[in-house]
């Protein structure tokens, strides 16, 4: 199916939740922006409005008093609102003041060497083989290992944490009620897991993320156990699949684009710009949700209080009105790149500094060691809607000798 057909200007409807849209969203985005700047998506059991133009999305992000995050739109097994994702200003800023410094730019920079070793150890596992499912073996474990290490949790918990995350995000039992039950049960287990980890650190002097949460103050008081758990929950749900999907999209893209791949392999100094362009062009978190808190009009459409609105970040990021006539082309050397892949306004991704470091080091090391690779013949790349992970990403390359990491 032509992904553009998922937009129907006659009925005013659009459906971003189709695998063929997730695999090739640009024609879909283009039709949305051109024909239905306010569209209706009849999904999730209720109607959701879609906003898709760059300036409209940016405006909505900057106006949390109109487009609120204070709601639990998607049941992801949580007991309470996720902190700080589902908290509105001014309350929101109190939490950001506490959490931001724990993963700010100066805080994550010293992690680079360790991160490089982690990436190389993972690469060592398959470089000699000449074939890999890059999703299962590279892009999934990497952010999870980084997270465990930042929290001072043992590496042996990798499988456990991945299971938590997968059972919450995609329980895939085939039955919505059973899905909800699995989510709840896993959510409870995830809370218990972190509660345990936090209790073990009480009174400790470590520098890991959890110990820092224990001693950080909001409004002149330390955080409650619940508050810390609500943050941890969000880190698991927001900090793993997002990095995985960006790396999936990046490797799949470069495997099929030898010209841009050679640019990166020949000159690692362009990797930071290439990372920004990957984020823009692929916008792995396709969309985010808001609830209307004040009546407002846009393009002749009247939004009412309580309406759910989807901000289509991916279509904003490929809008020619911001990115020029070549907006739907990938250019690793693009100069000005004001993409919204990390959102914008007060909820701008809290993990963006860590994410950028992970993405840069992963792509630098991958291309240093595997400069040339292609998608395995006959492989069909299936993208998940919403967060664009590639279910399986078989790549082939000339085997190289594993190098011991000092």
């Amino acid at each position: 199916m032509d992904p553009g057909a998922a937009v129907n200007p006659d009925t005013g409807e659009a459906n971003p939740y189709l695998p063929e849209v997730a695999a090739n969203p640009i024609p879909f985005y283009e039709r949305l922006r051109d024909h239905l700047p306010v569209a209706m998506f009849e999904g999730f059991g209720r109607g959701t409005w879609i906003i898709s133009r760059y300036e409209d999305v940016r405006w909505a992000l900057k106006h949390p008093e109109i487009f609120s995050s204070d709601f639990v739109a998607v049941d992801i097994g949580q007991d309470r609102p996720l902190i700080p994702l589902q908290i509105d200003p001014p309350e929101h800023a109190k939490y950001r003041r506490v959490i931001d410094p724990t993963i700010g730019p100066h805080e994550v920079a010293p992690l680079e060497d360790e991160l490089r070793s982690v990436v190389n150890e993972i690469l060592d596992g398959f470089v000699g083989r000449g074939t890999v499912d890059a999703h299962a073996e590279f892009t999934v474990p990497l952010p999870c290992i980084v997270f465990l290490s930042m929290c001072g949790l043992p590496l042996e918990h990798l499988q456990q944490l991945l299971e938590f995350k997968d059972n919450i995000i995609r329980p895939n039992t085939g039955d919505p009620e059973e899905d909800a039950r699995v989510r709840r049960a896993t959510g409870a287990a995830l809370y218990a897991y972190f509660e345990d980890a936090i209790e073990q650190r009480r009174g400790g002097t470590g520098t890991d993320l959890l110990t820092r949460f224990l001693t950080s103050e909001v409004d002149g008081r330390t955080m409650s156990k619940e508050e810390m758990l609500d943050i941890c929950y969000l880190f698991i749900l927001g900090g793993l699949d997002t990095v995985t999907s960006t790396l999936d999209c990046s490797l799949a893209h470069l495997a099929q684009d030898p010209v841009q791949r050679a640019l990166i392999a020949d000159d690692p100094s362009i990797v930071p710009a290439a990372v920004e362009e990957m984020l823009r062009f692929h916008t792995p978190v396709m969309q985010i949700l808001r609830a209307v808190a004040q009546p407002v009009e846009l393009h002749g459409h009247q939004f009412e209080v309580g309406d759910t609105v989807m901000l289509m970040l991916g279509s904003a990021d490929t809008d020619p009105s911001e990115f020029g006539e070549d907006a739907s082309e990938f250019d690793a050397t693009r100069e000005v790149n004001r993409h919204l892949a990390f959102g914008g306004g007060p909820h701008r991704c809290l993990g963006s500094h860590l994410a950028r470091l992970e993405l840069r080091v992963a792509l630098e090391e991958w291309h240093r060691r595997i400069p040339d690779y292609t998608v395995a013949e006959g492989a069909h790349l299936e993208y998940s809607p919403g967060i664009r992970e590639i279910v399986s990403l078989p790549l082939v390359f000339d085997p190289v000798v594993a190098e011991a990491v000092e």
């Binding site: 900057k62 730019p105 004001r338 919204l340 914008g344 963006s352 500094h353 950028r356």
Partner: protein, 64 residues
């Protein structure tokens, strides 16, 4: 000479400015922008202009 104007209220810490022109901008502990050189010297002007143009929140502007 160019002069950089920073709107603290608008900055949310995307970090594009200090990534693109680290000699002109730095980050505070929240990852928000700190302007190191309000009037950057000629050799840093190009980088400063690119950084200003890259702020998704329009928190940075140039006078002159």
């Amino acid at each position: 000479m160019m002069r950089i104007v920073f709107d603290e209220q608008a900055c949310v810490g995307h970090g594009r400015c200090y990534a693109l022109a680290p000699q002109v901008f730095d980050a505070d502990d929240l990852g928000h922008c700190v302007v190191l050189l309000t009037e950057p010297p000629a050799e840093l002007e190009a980088a400063a202009r690119l950084a200003v143009a890259s702020c998704p929140e329009d928190a940075l502007t140039i006078e002159g």
